[in-house]
Each structure stands twice: as C-alpha cells, then as structure tokens.
Symmetry: C2
Subunit: 226 residues, 2 copies
C-alpha cells in the first residue's frame, strides 16, 4: 500500500496527464478552427484554456503543500519540483493553443491559412497533438524510450516550420502582408508548443536517469531557421 504522500504524487501525475489531454484537445480543435474558419470552435478553445490554468493552480498549491508538510528530500523533492515545471510547460502549451484559436477568430469568416499551406498547417496540428500525447505517455509511464521518440516529432515540427518559411520566402507569396503575419505567428506558436512538450519529456528523463545532458537541455538546440 502507498502512503498518503505517494498517493498525492500519483494524483499529481494523473493531473499532469490530464493536462496533456486537455492541451492536445485544445491544439487539435484550434487547428480545425483555423483551417475551417470555425468561429464557435475557436471560441470554445479560448474559453477552455481557463480549465488548464485552473489545474496548474491546483497543482501548484498541492506541490507547495507537499513541500511544506512532507519536507521531502532526494527523489521525492525532485519529483515535486519537476512536476511544478511540467505543469508550467503544459499551462503555456494551453496558451499557445489559445493563441492559434485567436488567429482563427480574428480572421473569421476567412481562414488565416492560404490554400498551399493548408496541408502543412494540418500536419503541424497533428504533430502537436501527437507530441503532447507522447508527453502524456512519458509522464504516465516514466517511459524514457518514448521520450526519445518524441524528439523525432519535434524534428518533424521543425521541418514543417521550415516549410512554412519556404512558402513565405520562396518568392511566390501572393497572399499579402496580413496573411504573412498570421502564418508567421501561427508557425511560431506550433513550434513553441512542441518545444514545451519536449521540455516536459526531458524533465521526466532527468527525473528517471538523474542526468541532464546538454542534449536534454530544456530548450531544444535544434530549431527551424527562424
């Protein structure tokens, strides 16, 4: 049987996984809202972000409470502090999904994404959904192998981000400056979303292995050319 403290740690882990589900749903729906110019869906993503923020606040309170009452050391201490950082990453990912939804809302009834970039943005949304789902698996199972696989999704996101810049800067952009601004920002939001998912996974790896190699620095060293 687990004691109350380890029950609380397990609960925190479950809530973090719940946050990955909510941010995954948010980025998925934000992508659809963006591509389909679906205002109601965009509004629902924007409104739902409060739920993610609330879980972070709850987890912060729990973490501070555990630190104060349990006086943990060594591994338990690292788990609690790392949990606080992961919830901050996930909260920020919720914000980024909301930012994508806000671009959709701003451009309604048009879509902010020109036809030749629809496939790329759709893939960015899918990669974002996949990477945060894997981050959830990593949290749930402390799965270091999945954490490494997730880095490949991040590489894929960087490739798609470069595709966006290729379309913008290839010399044949004829959608005007407003669309260029929107696409630039949206590309950045997806890239940052993936970066934070990578951070979440790397924090778990650090917890499990105790090693924080340069390759596992919180900010991915690789990134798109912009």
């Amino acid at each position: 049987m687990r004691d109350a403290f380890h029950e609380e740690l397990a609960h925190t882990s479950e809530r973090l996984v719940e946050m990955t589900r909510l941010t995954g749903s948010a980025i998925s729906r934000a992508t659809t809202a963006l591509l389909d110019a679906d205002l109601a869906l965009a509004e629902s993503v924007i409104a739902a972000d409060e739920q993610i923020d609330a879980i972070q606040r709850e987890l912060d309170d729990t973490a501070l409470d555990m630190l104060a009452r349990q006086q943990p050391v060594a591994t338990d201490l690292r788990i609690i502090v790392t949990g606080m950082r992961m919830s901050a990453d996930l909260e920020r990912m919720g914000d980024l999904a909301r930012h994508v939804a806000k671009v959709a809302r701003r451009r309604y009834p048009d879509s902010a994404v020109p036809p030749e970039l629809r496939a790329t943005v759709l893939q960015m949304g899918q990669v974002a959904e996949r990477i945060v789902a894997k981050a959830g698996s990593v949290i749930a199972g402390n799965d270091v192998v999945a954490a490494v696989q997730l880095e490949q999704d991040d590489d894929e996101m960087d490739r798609l981000h470069r595709e966006v810049f290729g379309a913008l800067l290839g010399g044949s952009w004829d959608h005007g400056v407003e669309a260029a601004v929107d696409v630039t920002l949206v590309g950045r939001y997806y890239e940052r979303f993936a970066d934070h998912a990578v951070s979440v996974a790397r924090r778990v790896v650090y917890l499990v292995t105790g090693e924080w190699h340069e390759a596992y620095a919180p900010e991915p060293a690789r990134s798109a050319t912009r």
Copy 2:
C-alpha cells in the same frame, strides 16, 4: 546577524538581480545589433546567453539544495519556489534577446528593420531595458510600488507592438514578405520579453502581499491585438 540560510536567500536575490542586469544588457545590445546591422555585436549577444543560462542552473541547484537541507516552510518556502520561477523567466528573457540578435545576424549586412519602424523598434528596446531594470529594483527592494509602475512600461510595450502591426497592416507596407516576417517575429520577442519581466515583478508582489489577484496573473491579460 543572518544565519547561513538567510545568507543563501540573500545571495539568490543578488544573483537574480545580476540576471536582470545581464538580460537588460542583452536586449539593449541586441536592439543596437538589429538597428545597426552590427554582426559582431549580434554574435556577442548570442554567445553571452550561456552566462545567463549558467546562473539559472546554479540558482536551481542552490534552491534544490536549500529545500532539501533546510526543509523550509511558510514564507521561506515560498521565497525559494518563487526564486526558481523568476530565474526561469529571466533565462527565457535571455533567450528572447538572443532571438532578436539572431534576426540581426540572419539579415546582415542589411538591417531587418525598415526605416519607418526604426524609431518604434528603438523604443521597444528601450522599454525592454527599462522594464527589466525595474524588475531588478523590485527584486532588490521587494518594492511593490515599482512593480505597479512597471506595468505601465508593459502597456507602453503593447502600444509599440500595435504600432508595429499598424505599419505592417496599414496597407502601405512595401518592404516585402521577408521583412514582414522578421518584423513580426521581432515584435513578438520584445512583447514576450516584457511579459516575462511583468511576471517577475508580479511574483515579488505575490511574495510580499501573499495575494495573487486576477490582475496579477502571470500572463498579462492585456496584450497587443495580435
């Protein structure tokens, strides 16, 4: 006389202030590099970011060590956890200054900023420098009044950010898509820089007052229209 624990807390505070100085210098030099297309200066900002990252790692180690050895509760616990969050904000501000410098490097020997936006970007750099200097004063003095004043700098940054979008979207942009992309990203970097400085200040306010009003949520509710 202070005991060893409070010496360590004071040392952390000094190191956080040092981080504000370094990030302030970084954003100032990055702005000059951007406006003057100064490659050597851009490279120096990019290289110097490692120093900021190193201080964050050192502060994280110190914080974990204090949590494990001192088993703090109540205010001391909150100070340590808040310090970790502030150093994360400041580390990110260093990244954002580096991003600005990278735009300067990418566009060298040209400047990424068209003539009619030079004054705006110069001001964004100045506001960024000012806001992080105030964040440093807030940390050094636990000065809640300065924390409130700093919000006005953030309002000014939002106004400048809207000016950037005004120039981009006003219908008279004739600098092409590449410049539009660069200016969009640079505007976002300055805005995020200021947001993190606001977070730093709000965290101090939270520590001092114990109140975390909606108005002091980590992410500023106000923001530019994009």
